[in-house]
Structures are given as structure tokens and as C-alpha cells.
């Protein structure tokens, strides 16, 4: 777990807003039928709300008229009026039934509204997610080398969520907010324009205030999350490193350090609360102010009576209800304003990933058959650099005959792994060519080429999955027998024997922990199961001890029938087995030859070999090997 830090995303050559919006709308447009449904339901809900409130208003007018006969009689809408012979209670019951009926209809609409809303969003998001995933898998290593893993993961999860929240939060919800604002406003203005203005005057202020609050506290909450992450990170370390802490007797210092991180998080959270206390109650408080206006001005209008430009008591009640509903919309608008920049930034990153060019692709008419015959590998004047300006490999030429074992040595950074990565076409060279079985690697169908090569990387990556699924990763349909053979070939039988559930034991992050050597042996088994004609071992035995490394080498020797093998290794025992050794230095081939050839010539290889021999104090080795 790397220590969490503030994520500052560089966003060079950002996408123009117009294009961004157009693409977002295009995404939503594909599901327009369902979006249209959602819009209709929204507007229906607003109308229903007005109907329900109107029912209450009429009821109040009716009752008020009954209690004080000089108050105006209720105005029934749509030219409807109950028969004159209906009793007061019968009229009240009619209105009660009406309100209930409206609420029931509203409930049904609410339910469908929620479901349709979700359906729309889910369709958009699933679409987008699978598209990105597809893209992600086809991007070249270059992309993954230059982008932080966490950020890439965030593209598919967080940023897709951002697009989701744009579609749901901005597109859908702003339709809701403005539809209700519009419908309510028309209705209220029709009743009384001045009262409407008086009540709604707080709305812009609320929106402005909340946006300000959001701007102010957002970085504080981000900082809070970071402080908590730091705290948890240290807590985690204090557990992972508990042996070291114990052995050096540093428990007190460790707890003191954790406490200080804990206090940082605490103090910052308390200071956030001060701003929260200042801003958060503002919306509700100003809503109460609007109610004061309603009481004062609205009451005045009721007093002067409808004849003199006033309103009925029932209408005042309707206003109060609508005001309550609009108060909710103010918060929705604030949400929209606050989330838009973030959602757009997320969407932009998503689209950039979708637009990322796939550089390694198969040509039409490429060689498609997966090879099962031994293959020769040749590098012809190959030059390659991750940055074309700075080549990592320069003018590399050599060839490996079918069945040969080629070892590659050289100091860190000399280009050993890079050289190997060109064989399976994880990168394409800038100049020269790599041929596999006398066919240019670029003329192979990518899938066929890679299925012909078994690769073991330096970093022994295992999935959080069973040992079986890990070993059979490249061949999920492999029978158990073949899996066991591969495991035996990688000298990993003891790993299975020690694991609680044998092949079905879960390893990786969520499973049992394995040592580096055990992991490496499983990754070797994963490559062995393919029985591919080419095998690449990129420092694949660095973490296993010398004896095990030799055992693996021996079993590789046994199983290799005409397999062309490339191996990066440090130990002499492995190097001696190679048919030829390529010594790389600063991206160029410094020397090629057998162990016996190279040990005779002065240079990096001889120097390294001599030190290793000296370190092992291997007096049993023939002195003539050391002294030419």
C-alpha cells in the first residue's frame, strides 16, 4: 500500500466543453425512449403535487367558510361544484377521498419513476463500462507503464460513476428541478405574482450560499479523507511490522506516532465542523424567513380579501405547501451546480481513455495458426525506446535457433526485460524487426503469436483466485492432470501440498500468503501449462533460493523438447546451462558466447562471475574455471 497522497491530476490538452457535452448527450441519446418516459413521469408528478395541495386548499376554504360565514366560499376548480344539497361533511369527505386518490396515483408514479430512472442510468453505465474494459485490455504495456494503476482503476470505477452522476444527477435531475420549478412557478404566478416573488426571493440566495459552502468545504473533506487514509496506512503498517516493532521494543513510539496522526484527523474534522455550523443551517433558516414573509404578506392578502387583489386562506395554504416543495429543489440545484465540474472532469477522463489509440494490433491476413513446432527467434538491427528519442535498445542483432536456450545478463537498466518484451510483441521496435519462426512478429495474428509463447514475468503476479485457476489462467479448460504436470515441472508440488485445500486454495490478495519464491514457481507453472514452443523467463527465479532454482532449471531441461528459451538470471548455475549468453550493456550487446567463452574474456560477465565464485567460496569448483 503506497502512502496515500493528494491526487493532482494533470490534464493537458483538455477536451473542449462543447465536444464533451455532445458526447455525453450522444451516450444518453442512445437510450432516449426510456429517458423520455422518465421525463414524462417527472412532469406528471409535479402536476399531481399541485392537485393534491389544491385539494387541501379547498378543504381549508370550505371549513373556514363553514366556521366564519363571512369568509369567502371555496372555489371549486374545473367548473366542478358539488350538488347544492350535499351536506358540509359530505363535501369534506369528497375532498378527503380526492386527496387520497391523488396520493395513490402519485405513489404509483413515484415507484415507476424510480425504476425507470435507474433503468436508464444502468443502461448507459453498463454500456460505458464494458466499452472501457474492452479498451483497457487492448492497450499496450506502454500505456500501463506511463499511467498509475490506481488512476486507471479509477477511470473504470470512479470516473464511470462520475459519468453516471452526470447523466443521473445533471441531465435527469435538472429536468426534474426545472420542470417542478417551471410548473410550480406558473401555478403560483397565476394565483398571486407578488406573493410568489416574496416567497421565492430567498431561493437565489440559498443557491449562492450553498455553492459557496460546497467550494469552501470540499477541499477540507478531501483533506480529511487523506488524513484518515494516512492514519489507517500507519495503523496497517504498525500491524504488518509488528515483529520489527517488538524486537526493537518500539511499541510506545509507534502508538505515539499513531496518536499524532489520529489527532491530526480529529483536529481537522473539528475545524470542518466550524464551517459546517456556519453554513449548513442557512438553507433551513432562510426557509423560515420565507415563511415569515408568507405569514406577514400572505396574511395581509387574506385579510384584504380576494375582491381587493388578495387571496383566500386556502390559497395561502397551497403557497406554503409549494414553498416547502421548492425548498427541496433549491438543494437539488445546488447539488447539480456542485457536481457538474467534477462529473465533467470524470467524463473527460473516461472519453480520453476510450480515445486512447491501440498501437499493437494484428494486420489483416496475418499468420493465425498457434505454433506447436519449434520456432527460431531473430532480432535484426532492432532499436527501441519507450521514448523514441531515448532508445533503450540499440541495433540489437542476434538469432536463436529452435530449441536453444539463450541467457541474458547485464546490470540493472541495461534493457534485459525490454529485449524480452519485444518477442511477445508487448512493444513494437522503432527500427529493425523481430522475427518469430521466420515471420515478422507484426505479421502474426496477435492472439496466435502470444499463445505460442509462455511468459514468466519478473514480478510474480497471481490473481486472487484458486491455485487451479491461476495455473490454468491461459488454458481454463485444462484437465487437472495437465495442471499437475505443469506444477511439477515448476517444482511447485510442495506449494500445493502445503496449501490447505490443494489446487482449490485461494491465493493472492484475498487468499493465503505465499513467499516470493512460491509465487514465482506458480507463475512458472502457469507458463509451462501452455507447452508453448517459446518460453521466456524474465528473472523468474530471483526470489527462490539457489537449490530450488537449480531444481527448476533441471526440470525445464527435462521437459524442453525443442523449446526455445530466453532467460534473465543472475546465478552462475543457471547461466552455465545456457547455450549462449548475451551480455547487455546500456542497451547494446556487449558480448555473446557460452559461459566458457565469456569467462575467458575480460568484461562485465567475467567480473560478476568472479565475485560470485568468490562469495560462494566454492573451492570444490575447478580452479581452472576461474583462472583461464
Amino acid at each position: 500500500m503506497p502512502p496515500p497522497s493528494e491526487e493532482t491530476e494533470p490534464s493537458p490538452n483538455s477536451m473542449p466543453l462543447g465536444i464533451l457535452l455532445r458526447r455525453l448527450f450522444a451516450l444518453a441519446w442512445r437510450h432516449r425512449a426510456i429517458a423520455f418516459c422518465a421525463g414524462l413521469i417527472t412532469i406528471a408528478l409535479q402536476l399531481l403535487a399541485i392537485l393534491g395541495l389544491s385539494g387541501q386548499g379547498i378543504a381549508i376554504d370550505l371549513i373556514h367558510h363553514r366556521a366564519s360565514p363571512d369568509a369567502p366560499a371555496p372555489k371549486w376548480p374545473f367548473g366542478f361544484a358539488p350538488p347544492a344539497d350535499w351536506s358540509f361533511m359530505r363535501q369534506v369527505l369528497l375532498i378527503g377521498g380526492f386527496i387520497l386518490a391523488i396520493t395513490l396515483i402519485t405513489s404509483v408514479f413515484r415507484y415507476f419513476g424510480r425504476v425507470v430512472d435507474e433503468l436508464f442510468v444502468q443502461q448507459c453505465v453498463v454500456d460505458l463500462r464494458t466499452t472501457i474494459y474492452d479498451k483497457l485490455q487492448r492497450l499496450s504495456f506502454r500505456f500501463f507503464d506511463t499511467h498509475d494503476t490506481g488512476q486507471i482503476i479509477n477511470r473504470v470505477t470512479g470516473d464511470t460513476q462520475a459519468v453516471r452522476s452526470f447523466i443521473q444527477g445533471v441531465m435527469v435531475r435538472s429536468v426534474v428541478a426545472f420542470a417542478s420549478l417551471g410548473v410550480f412557478l406558473v401555478f403560483m404566478l397565476k394565483q398571486h405574482a407578488m406573493l410568489t416573488a416574496a416567497c421565492l426571493s430567498v431561493l437565489p440566495f440559498q443557491v449562492w450560499m450553498m455553492v459557496r459552502y460546497g467550494r469552501k468545504t470540499k477541499p477540507m473533506f478531501t483533506e480529511q479523507a487523506r488524513l484518515v487514509d494516512v492514519l489507517i496506512h500507519h495503523f496497517s503498517e504498525s500491524i504488518a511490522g509488528v515483529r520489527v516493532i517488538r524486537a526493537f521494543g518500539r511499541e510506545k513510539e509507534t502508538v505515539a506516532k499513531l496518536d499524532s496522526k489520529s489527532a491530526d484527523a480529529r483536529n481537522q474534522r473539528i475545524s470542518i465542523a466550524k464551517d459546517q455550523g456556519r453554513y449548513q443551517p442557512l438553507v433551513q433558516a432562510t426557509n423560515m424567513l420565507a415563511q415569515a414573509a408568507l405569514v406577514g404578506y400572505g396574511g395581509y392578502l387574506v385579510l384584504i380579501g380576494e375582491g381587493a387583489g388578495g387571496i383566500a386562506l386556502g390559497t395561502l395554504w397551497i403557497f406554503r405547501g409549494l414553498l416547502e416543495q421548492l425548498a427541496g429543489q433549491a438543494e437539488a440545484i445546488v447539488q447539480i451546480i456542485a457536481s457538474t465540474p467534477e462529473a465533467l472532469a470524470g467524463a473527460e477522463r473516461v472519453f480520453k481513455l476510450v480515445d486512447e489509440p491501440v498501437t499493437i494490433t494484428s494486420r489483416p491476413n496475418a499468420r493465425t495458426a498457434v505454433a506447436d513446432q519449434p520456432l527460431a527467434v531473430a532480432f535484426e538491427n532492432v532499436t527501441f525506446g519507450y521514448d523514441p528519442e531515448r532508445p533503450v535498445l540499440r541495433d540489437i542483432t542476434f538469432s536463436a535457433q529452435p530449441g536453444e536456450t539463450i541467457a541474458i545478463v547485464g546490470p540493472t537498466g541495461s534493457g534485459k526485460s525490454t529485449l524480452l518484451s519485444l518477442i511477445a510483441r508487448f512493444h513494437d521496435p522503432q527500427a529493425g524487426r523481430v522475427t518469430i519462426g521466420n515471420t515478422d512478429a507484426r505479421d502474426w495474428e496477435l492472439h496466435a503469436l502470444r499463445r505460442s509463447i509462455g511468459v514468466v514475468f519478473q514480478e510474480p503476479y497471481l490473481y486472487s483466485n484458486t491455485i487451479r485457476n491461476n495455473v490454468a489462467y491461459g488454458m481454463p479448460e485444462a484437465p487437472t492432470e495437465r495442471i499437475n504436470d505443469a506444477i511439477a515441472a515448476a517444482s511447485a508440488t510442495d506449494v500445493i501440498a502445503e496449501a490447505t485445500n490443494g489446487l482449490e486454495t485461494v491465493v493472492g490478495e484475498r487468499g493465503i500468503s505465499l513467499s516470493g519464491g512460491q509465487r514465482q514457481r506458480l507463475t512458472i507453472a502457469r507458463a509451462m501449462i501452455l507447452r508453448a514452443p517459446i518460453l521466456i523467463l524474465d528473472d523468474a527465479t530471483g526470489a527462490v533460493d539457489a537449490v530450488t532454482e537449480s531444481t527448476i532449471q533441471q526440470s525445464l531441461d527435462r521437459t524442453e523438447a525443442g523449446r526455445t528459451t530466453f532467460v534473465v538470471a543472475h546465478r552462475l548455475s543457471t547461466l552455465r546451462r545456457a547455450d549462449r549468453i548475451i551480455v547487455l550493456d546500456k542497451g547494446e550487446i556487449a558480448d555473446i558466447g557460452t559461459h566458457e567463452d565469456l569467462i575467458d574474456r575480460p568484461g562485465h560477465y567475467r567480473a560478476a562471475a568472479l565475485i560470485q565464485l568468490a562469495l560462494n567460496e566454492s573451492e570444490n569448483l575447478d580452479a581452472s574455471e576461474v583462472q583461464p
Binding site: Q137, F248, L313, V455, N465, P476, A608
Partner: protein, 623 residues
Amino acid sequence: MSKRRTVVIPPHLTALVQAPKGADEKEPEFGRFKWSLARRLVVYMWRHRGVQLWVLFYAVLLAGVNSALPVVITETIRWTIESPQKLKDTFNITPFQGLGIGAGIVALLAVAFYIVMGIRLIVINRLAELVVYDIRHDLFAHVQSLDMSFFDRTKLGRILSRGTGDIAAVRNAVVHVIPRTVLHTLMMVFLFAVMFRYDVVLAFILLGAVPVVYLANTFFDRRLTTVYRTVQESFSRITSNIAETVSGIRVTQAFAREHINAALFEGLCQDHRRNNMRAAHVHGLYIPMFELCFAVATVLIIVVGAWRLEQGHMSTADLIGFLLCIGGFFMSIIIIADLYNITLQAMAGAERIFALLDTRPQITDKAEAESLPRTGNGARIEFRNVTFGYTAERSVLHDVSFTAEPGRTIALVGHTGSGKTSIVSLICRLYAHQSGDILIDGRPIQNITLASLHSQTGLVLQDNFLFTGSVMDNIRFARPDATDDQVRAACLALDCLEVFEALPDGLLTDVGERGTGISLGQRQLVTFARAMLADPRILMLDEATSAVDTFTEYRIQLALEKLMQGRTCIVVAHRLSTVRRADQILVLDHGRIIERGTHDQLLAADARYATLYNEFIRLTSEG
């Protein structure tokens, strides 16, 4: 879009889409309410009773302000609109003046609300942070005191979630449960009193709705929580799938398995979509529930109110008062119902936290323990018939006896699981042995204070564990009071100062668990320097098996030799050179010492060690 291959996914892979097998079983999210847990939480809050008192004080004030609002509006309507004549008779003011006064009071309430609510927020958060800090401190300190066996049987994630999710649940309880229970219970009481005052019969009819609303809400709340948890779970499956895809992208491309992965991922997405839709259905039923209850109450007020008005028991203003009060009244019921679930979540969290705090360490200082005097170069370590097992049933060391004289080096040799690491752990007293004696300088190890023992031990682990921080911080870990020069001197003594100074930021280069910018060999050197600075009399070394490049290996061996000088060293050996230099080699097999002696003696004996050695030579040198 690429052309998709039609993919047949083997059944054992689809099973993993549903639920990752062997993944952590979930800990229950809801607990049962227990007074014992609640009492312990209250003890934490009692430490900050001053703040707690203010929290309660503001809850009462806020309940007052919130309940006053409908009353003021109702009374304004009553006096000005309903019976303006009475207003004139009683107070001698016009209804217009009355309206002004009413509006003024509402505005004052708005200001009061702003102030009370604001301060309340600040005070509540303050209390929560103070309490959480205390719990966290106890947790951190307690975890550091626990036995190694606790860490062996408890996964890191589990311990961490005590400090994250569980504490968050408890914080929720502190922030929400107590203050809100007080606030909303008071509001319910106040509002009911107001309604009672307006009309007794109608008030009691509405009271009947309380259990209905409460139960309905509790029911839905539970279901919602459950259904949203499945959404969260399927989303976290998506996230971890992507995380794996990205970290394992090289493997995927090397094995050309993109199409299978894409099919699996699509399965996860569809699964997540289904869960989301299911949640939407439940949520869609839940949203109108409150609205329906509210509508029924409203209709009841209108119909029953009209009837009571006909009979002369109520006025229009009373009826409006009811309509104004009922919203807040119902809201309070719903919030209190929600609190019930929050409480149960907090209980589950508190129960796990307290269970951890109640785990008692076995290895502690005895009352009569004395500190170990620091004398001479290296301590004398003696094992007498020591038997030890991580669990009482299965011993990993049987009847082990040996003596390490001061300043000498003992190499432990044997296969994985033969008990080498256990011997090292026992000398640090990370575990307690079951029988026999372990003597340090002639004193039984359990009679030595842990602090004094650990001040004289140094440990270099195979995995080269480094803490987040700079190289300097990591070395200084061994002796926090060491000056920069002392750290440098320790590096210099190992002849590796220039290796660290060649790093991008020299000794201030940041490293971490997976520190970048520092190689495996360099990490090893840091752990050496750390042990060097501690200057322990007993050095325990678990040698790394990994192969580093030849020049670094050379450095490591030189540094090692210097580090080991003048101390008693116990080495779990993987390097031939280390074994050959040892004063005594103990060959372990299944927890027993089967051979002992120097390299030459053991070779001459031509038994197990000689076989191991020859096998090693044969395997590593065969061409």
C-alpha cells in the same frame, strides 16, 4: 469495438463471478442491543461530559425552536384572520399589526434556529471526534500489546476494520443516536402537547398512527440496507476485478486471455445492474410510503377536524395547527426509527472493538521481572529442553537445547518448517514456550522485563520490512533519539553510507512497504543499518533467499560480517558463506536438533549436513 469472440466460460470461472470463493466471510453489520456495550460507550462519553452536556442543552433548545414555529404561525392566523375582533378587544391592535408581530416572531425564530443549529453541529462533531480519538488510542495501544499469536490468527484486514468501519459505526452513534433521540423525542412530546391543546380527540387518533409509521419505516429501512449492501458488494466485485485486470494486464496479454476476461467482466456488470434494479424496486416502494402515511394523516385531520368543528370543539386555526404540526411529528418518528438501525450497527461495531480490547496478552512483565543488565559483547543464550508450539496441541520445537556463548554466531540450518524461525521468535519472546528454560545471561527469559530484553535484541527479517518514511527514519527507528550523525556513523560502520547517499534524495529518500526507487538489496542494507544503530547484544537474522545482482550481494556480505561482529548472533542461514563462518551450526529437522558442530566437523561426520551441503553444491554448480 472489436469483434467479440464467442466465449464459452468454464463453470468454475462463472462461479467466481457470483462470489469469490474463500474470500472473507462478511462480518454482521447489525448487532443486538446490549446494555453492557452501551454502558462502555457511555463511559467514553462521560470523559467528555462537559461537551456532552452542551450537546444535550442544544438539543433541548432546538426542539423548542422547531416546535415553536407551527405554534406561532397557527396563533397568528387565529388572532388575525379568524378572530380579529378578539385581538382588538384583548390587545388593542389591528390584525395588520398582529400579522407584523407574527411575521417578526417567525423571523426571530429563523435567527434562533440558525444560531442553535450551527452551534449544535459544532458541539456534536467535537464530542464525536474526542470520543473516537480516545477509542482509537486504546485500540492502537492495545493492538501493540497483543501476542504474536493474535496476529498469526487474525487477518490484517480484520484488525484494520476495527479502526475503520467499526469506529465509524460507533461515531455515528455518538453523532446521531443520543443527540437525535433527545431532540426528536422532545419534538414529538412538544408537538403532541400542542396538538393535544388544540383538540384532544384528534390528537389521540393521530397518536395511533405512530406505531404504524415506526414499524413500516423500520421494516423498509432494514430491507433497503440489505438490498443496497448487495449493490455495494457487486460493485466491489467490479472494482476488484478491474484492479486485478490492471495489475495483471501483462499476464492477460501474454496469455492472450482478453476475451474470457471481457466475458467475465460483462457478467459482473450485468450482475451489478440486476442488483441496482432490485434496489430501485425496493426504494421505489419505500419513497411513497411516507407520502402515503402523511396523506392519510392529512385526510384524517381534515375529515375528523371538520366533524369536530361542526360540533364546536375546534376552530379553523386549530385545524391548520394540526396540519402544521403533523409533518414534524411524523418526521421525528421516522428519524427515531432510523436511529434504531444506526444503533444496531454501532452495537455490532462496538462489540467487535471491545472484544479486541478485551483480548488479554499472555506475554507480559511479571511483577518480579528485572531488567537485563548490559554487559560485555553479546549475551549468553541458553535453551534447555525447550518445547514450543504455536498451538498447544502441535509442537514445532521438541526438547531443544543449545548454548550460544557471548559474541558467537549460531547458524540454524534445515528445511522449511523445521523450526528455525520459531527459535528466533522465542529469543525475542514473541511467543511463550511451553516447557523447558530459555536463559539469557543465566536469567530465565520470563523474569526479564520485555523492555530491557528488546532494548538488547535486534532483528533483521527476510522480507526486509520498511516503514513509510525516509531511509533515515527507517534506520532511526531502532533508536529514536539518535542524531543524524549517529545514523550516518552506523551506515559508515557497515560501509554502506555511500550506497544510501547515491539514492535520489540520499538518506532522505522515501521508502515504504513497496518502496519504489530503492532496490531489494538496498532495502536489505537499510535493515542492517537499523540493527547496527540499535547496537543489540543479541542479533537475530533471517537471511533473505532472493538473488540480487552480484555486486550488491558482495556489499551485503561485507556489511553482514561487520554487523555481526561483537554480538551473539542467531542466523537462519541461506547463504553458504554465512553457514561456513558460524561458530556452531544447528541442523534442525521437524523441530529437533539432529546435528550440531562447525562446518568442518559436520562435513567430517558425513551425516545429514554433509548430504545437504553436497546436494547444494551439486545443484548449484552442475553445468
